[in-house]
């Protein structure tokens, strides 16, 4: 679609593979970086010492239940940091619990998608996500890191 990077934060290897397959089948060829837990995601975004990350993705697909640092905490860090506070974050999770939905939106998630069991539905969901967040959505110009 374009050269924007996607950060996928997902600890389940099956879900990771299926998400990558779904992107592939939807002909979304953007670079996808995968973080397997919340700490790795924060390292990628901010660097191990917080001085600066190695990637600046156009959108983050974030699972909630993650080892080490959970998804909501990752979201909180992203929103608290000047460099990433406008970064689109899509919660991609198995949970349909209201408490997770409310917590996610309260912390500033841009969107909440429940992973469907059915792969065809999942393909469609990924298609919509790619279309919206990679093509249609505009975010404010990146702030220079002071």
């Amino acid at each position: 679609m374009n050269d924007k990077t996607i950060l996928l934060v997902e600890d389940n290897p099956d879900d990771e593979e299926l998400t990558l397959l779904a992107f592939q089948q939807n002909h979304i060829s953007n670079a996808i970086t995968v973080a397997r837990d919340g700490a790795e995601a924060l390292d990628l975004l901010f660097g191990p010492d917080g001085s600066g990350g190695s990637i600046s993705p156009a959108v983050i697909l974030l699972d909630l239940k993650l080892p080490k640092v959970d998804g909501l905490e990752v979201l909180r860090c992203i929103r608290a940091d000047e460099r990433t506070k406008f970064l689109p974050v899509v919660i991609l999770t198995s949970s349909r619990e209201d408490q997770d939905l409310i917590a996610s939106y309260s912390l500033g998630a841009n969107s909440y998608v429940r992973k469907p069991v059915n792969f065809a539905e999942f393909l469609e969901a990924v298609h919509q996500l790619g279309l919206y967040w990679l093509l249609l959505n505009e975010t404010p110009a990146k702030k220079p890191i002071p």
Partner: protein
Amino acid sequence: MATRLKKNFDDLSPKWRRKRAEATLRESLARFHAATRATGDGFWDWDLATNTSWRNENYQTLFGYSASEISPSIVESWNERIHPDDRERVLSHIHAVIDGTDEFWTDEYRFRRSDGTYADVFDRGYVLRDASGRGMRMVGAIQDITERKQAQARLLAFNAELEQRVARRTRELQDLNQELETFCYSVSHDLRAPLRGIAGFTEILAKNYASALDDTAQGYLGRVRAATHRMGELIDDLLKLSRVSRDQMHRETVDLSAIARDVLANLQHAAPERQVELCIEDGLTAKGDPRLLRILLENLLDNAWKFTSKTPAASITFTASSEGNVPIFAVSDNGAGFDMRYASKLFGPFQRLHRATEFPGTGIGLATVQRIASRHGGRIWAEAEPGKGATFRFSL
């Protein structure tokens, strides 16, 4: 002769009258003693001018004082025997009544017995006033209510203990509920994740590797996919059922007729080819949680819709009647029905009376309906006959 008789009568008359009066007095005194014995109260008569009092013998039996210990001095026989912690309050109250205009005084306080222990007493009196309204005399009765007080205290203690017990049970239940919620959360998340793996990879196998698989292998893949789909439905329904049981209720007046019409319109929209005669009574309302009541009607009407799918001239009705003052709602259909021998199994989770190949379903719907009815303080029951249809009645 007549004059003499009359004179004698006049002579006798005062004597006779005195005798008469004495008899009346004796009778009234006897009645008074009988009354004091009957009540067991300590009677008192207090001369406010001299501050002396008369007390009947019940004082001795009630509090153990000998006759000599009951001084005519009100201060000695009464004031000083009031519990020091109660004394000021009792005295200021009784004097306020005497100095005021009220006729009656009552109070409860602790009164010292001869052995030094205290009795709980209920005391009340009546103020007699002169023409100017000044209190001259006060007459009353004191009653020992120690036992009643103790019983009351025991009752209070028992109540407090009961409340503690209820609080403990409630806490235990809350903990259990919390556990259940955690359990549901992991069912929602953890059970779904592997299922998604199975479903996703079989889908990809079927789609991208179809040429590498023979018909038998493809058939097996189809079975895996169907089973996965069913398991997904079961997990979803189970979660719905648990949510019905634990979500907060918000009671308001709910238009059940409108919900029924809406639900059936959706069903008709999803299956436009079906011709079902619908009869929904207008203006059926109930007090309850609108979201839960919608789920209840959705399940019953879904069932009616499903079980009439093989019935020519299918019909579904939603009506109400009343039993005493309780409205009873009914969803009826003329569909497949069921054998009443299995009616007791109808509302258990995962219980099905039809084969999945006849009518699809997870067996959670009616369990959900029953929980919703019972959360509203109502119940649900059914009547049916195989091939003739079913009627589900519920109260809320």
